[in-house]
Symmetry: C2
Subunit: 294 residues, 2 copies
């Protein structure tokens, strides 16, 4: 019996083709083994799911907006595994923009040559080694950087978050690519910013809440670090008139690291793989870990 | 007998250490086998070189400013081999800035989300496969791009410049990394720009004269291509009030692809290698080819 999958709130040809390519069939929700929700907006998500639904695929990397829906009755998976590469590409673009002062040159109306740095040979603190972090490590491979990877518990090749204080004074770049949880809220605050190098760039492609915005505004204003490149902000959207819009050391991109144009393509790839894994009785990719909060 | 090397117009500790590391000795010009000129300004360069000087190392990748000094009496080498990597890093930064619209976001004062693209999977036309081109190919390796390399005469794996017309309509990025010679002047002009894709980015990290600036201004104004990211311009410096300063599709960086901070380090690496090669009677790296004009 093929796995039956319902795609909602609207059908999506790319995702439905992926269901079939994974060996599944499209079905109404009442008859479905699985639900794939393809809209980043949770409005309209069923308040009760049929008992037959034993797997739900969410369309976002983070689960903040789905926290009150996720239960322990069935498996839930996020899209975090799908979007690692485009987000890592954006992170690399922000790192290069910072060290090469592209944000300043984009605003300039005259030919002036401030000293610029380079990424090659730099030390990169990478907070989180999920799909974004792993994809970024691959993109950084030709640059001969030293990577200081920080993870929740630490592993042989990573530093536990409890010892992150060792990392800040060493890093030329601090790249935030960790999930937003109560434990990671304001992971980068005033003490962390004060401990960073004056030439350091802070890059956030995860969630705005991991950085204490007020502390960052203050640190940038006094030149404590070289700059901040943020694809995510807190609050988000960043309101008009916010000091970050006028901060010369800041580069804000409006949560576009994962381009809309490729979103369904990448989600479809994950759906295909997870339908095939469910059919084969294998563990699904990117499962929600409710105890960890992501 | 160790090779004797004179470093001018001023001594430079990093370059002089490189001479010794390559097995050479520092000497006055009158006693020297070789001259390493460490200033990008040719003012003060000796109008006559002692006959004993059989090799001159220039500090620039291009030889335009040295053309009236270079003779056929001795070997001349440029620094083109030394600067490939930092310039390629800048080129990658400009490519990512373009496709990710960082130049627009840097100027924005409000949260708006235009559609953005990605580098991964794109087609990259690379004009020139010298040290910059080769270093860029290495940096692009993790992006799974298709590279269409264009060279003067063409090789097994490159397209001769005479057939470049095939390349323009296929490329999402056109990266100019070829030497400035009479033959490459205005290599990118009105017909080439008209043949490019509407989503294409033109990136120039070579010399300004390879692009017809007036044709580019016109092409950008009518949206014929997505944008141009230029580290070099014609005229250079780009004068205040030039239309490119106000063109939303342009990103200008003031000839900084090779950061001043790393210039002597990279030149020193080349000097060390060339001193060792001269001592061993091996061919030098980055020789000037007067017939080719670079």
């Amino acid at each position: 019996m093929p796995i039956t999958v319902h795609v909602a709130p609207e059908s999506d040809p790319e995702v439905e083709a992926a269901v079939r390519a994974g060996g599944g069939e499209i079905a109404p929700l009442a008859d479905a083994d699985a639900l794939v929700w393809v809209d980043s907006n949770p409005d309209g998500f069923p308040s009760e799911l049929p008992d037959g639904v034993r797997w739900v695929q969410l369309p976002s990397a983070g689960i903040e907006r789905w926290l009150d829906r996720v239960d322990r009755e069935r498996q839930w998976t996020t899209a975090s595994g799908a979007f690692g590469r485009p987000v890592a590409e954006h992170a690399l673009g922000l790192m290069l923009a910072g060290v090469r002062r592209l944000h300043e040159f984009a605003r300039a109306k005259t030919w002036t040559r401030p000293p610029i740095g380079e990424l090659a040979g730099a030390t990169v603190a990478l907070i989180g080694t999920g799909s974004i972090g792993r994809a970024l490590i691959a993109l950084l491979d030709p640059f001969d950087v030293e990577i200081l990877a920080v993870t929740r518990r630490g592993r042989d090749d990573t530093i536990p978050i409890g010892r992150a204080a060792e990392v800040w004074p060493r890093a030329d770049f601090v790249v935030v690519a960790a999930p937003a949880t109560p434990a990671t809220r304001h992971l980068i605050g005033a003490p962390e910013l004060a401990a960073m190098r004056e030439n350091a760039w802070l890059v956030n492609v995860a969630r705005g809440a991991l950085v204490d915005t007020d502390a960052l505004v203050e640190a940038l204003a006094r030149g404590a670090i070289a700059g901040a490149a943020l694809d995510v902000t807190d609050p988000e959207p960043l309101p008009d008139g916010h000091p970050l819009w006028d901060e010369p050391r800041a580069l804000i991109t409006p949560h576009v690291a994962n381009p809309d144009a490729t979103l369904m393509r990448d989600l479809a790839g994950l759906v295909r793989e997870n339908v095939a894994r469910l059919s084969a009785g294998e563990p699904l990719r990117s499962p929600v870990d409710l105890d960890a909060g992501y």
